[in-house]
Symmetry: C2
Subunit: 235 residues, 2 copies
Amino acid sequence: MWRFVDRSRRRIPEATVARLPVYLRTLLEVQAEQTSTVSSERLAELSGVNAAKVRKDLSYLGTFGTRGVGYEVDSLLVEVSRELGLTRDWPVVIVGVGNLGSALSNYGGFGDRGFPVGAVVDTDPLKVGTRHGDLIVRHIDDLPEIVSQFGIAIGIIATPAEGAQDVADRLIAAGVTSILNFAPAVVTVPDEASLRKVDLALELQILSFYRQREELGASLDRDLVIADKTTGLVV
Amino acid sequence: MWRFVDRSRRRIPEATVARLPVYLRTLLEVQAEQTSTVSSERLAELSGVNAAKVRKDLSYLGTFGTRGVGYEVDSLLVEVSRELGLTRDWPVVIVGVGNLGSALSNYGGFGDRGFPVGAVVDTDPLKVGTRHGDLIVRHIDDLPEIVSQFGIAIGIIATPAEGAQDVADRLIAAGVTSILNFAPAVVTVPDEASLRKVDLALELQILSFYRQREELGASLDRDLVIADKTTGLVV
DNA sequence: TCCTGTGAATGTCTTCACAGCC
DNA sequence: GGCTGTGAAGACATTCACAGGA
């Protein structure tokens, strides 16, 4: 008999969860090289993080390493996959067949990774009924029935900003509790649901910020100055 | 005469920088409603964050609000835009004309927001020379000349994972110090450069993690258990 | 000797709570 | 009275540094 913490239910920090998929990818690469064991150091290097972080992250999942040796690649892969819930498929529905929606539905990378595109929907009557890869575009009003028919677990919003919140509400109403939002709009969901966002323009704007700083760098190399109170001009 | 901190050079937390584009979008919406002044409370609500955070974030940029009143929409917009470096255009080059690269180059949302697509490049000789919207696909070897010709400031990597690091190296070599990486691969750049990544499968995997937790919730509702030492089975 | 697992220290971000100004 | 700006407290995340098992 023994008293221990059930690791499978330990709270895992968000930051750690966000890195698990990276470790997973790295482990697959390492596995492809026929390496049977891997150190936190190497895992870290290939994942672009530092070794202490890798060890701490993995320790949240359980105790899988061997001191003096490292981690057994195959079994760590299984553990990380299980923790991420990747032992089964999670069908997705793509909402919005515009430029981005089309690209996503044709992308193919989703199905391979356990996220088959179960359905594609839109509001536009002209688009409904058209073929899209293997799928026929269906009307968004059919969501509830589509969700149960295909076991949809995740909804991807690829509509213009205006429709995004409405789409999210419909997804939630249809029982979809995980949403990935590509629309450049703030979308809110109930606490029980999960929402992640990908905003392309936002990423570019962040880059723009740092890019501009570079240019400013040379000209404004001071933090503290003596300046006129009202004009702000340097004396 | 007066001693003061030059706000324009203050270090702004990364987390704050990442929210500025959201505030910017919100401010544009508020402006469209002809509202001339806005409180941190309202700005927060529309941006999906809390009011204290908005105030602290904005305070890093300077002192723009009026106590008892709020922020003047127009002038705050100018300040945020300026801070983000959006007072000028930043031409981008898209590398890789696959599914995603095509979608991005046709997207149009970039140009509107100050990130015109200056060029599209690929390695595939079959793609080079083909028309893509307004642009002719060029060979990646021409990057240095394309960069100076179009004043490219940002490179977007939309290639398969294998080529990503090489593309990043070529971008850096051509003088592009800001990179947005869509390839599902770890890419490293020199310290002076900025790199951001968007990984679609990764986002889905994170959602999968939380989704799975939902299902586990009911069955494993305990944190501490008495269990057999070796098997881990509950006694 | 090597490399994991983890407390403790440090650093960063968020939130609170209220003084200060309109 | 209302709302900003900001120290201080608290929560969270990263990194250090080393004990301890292989």
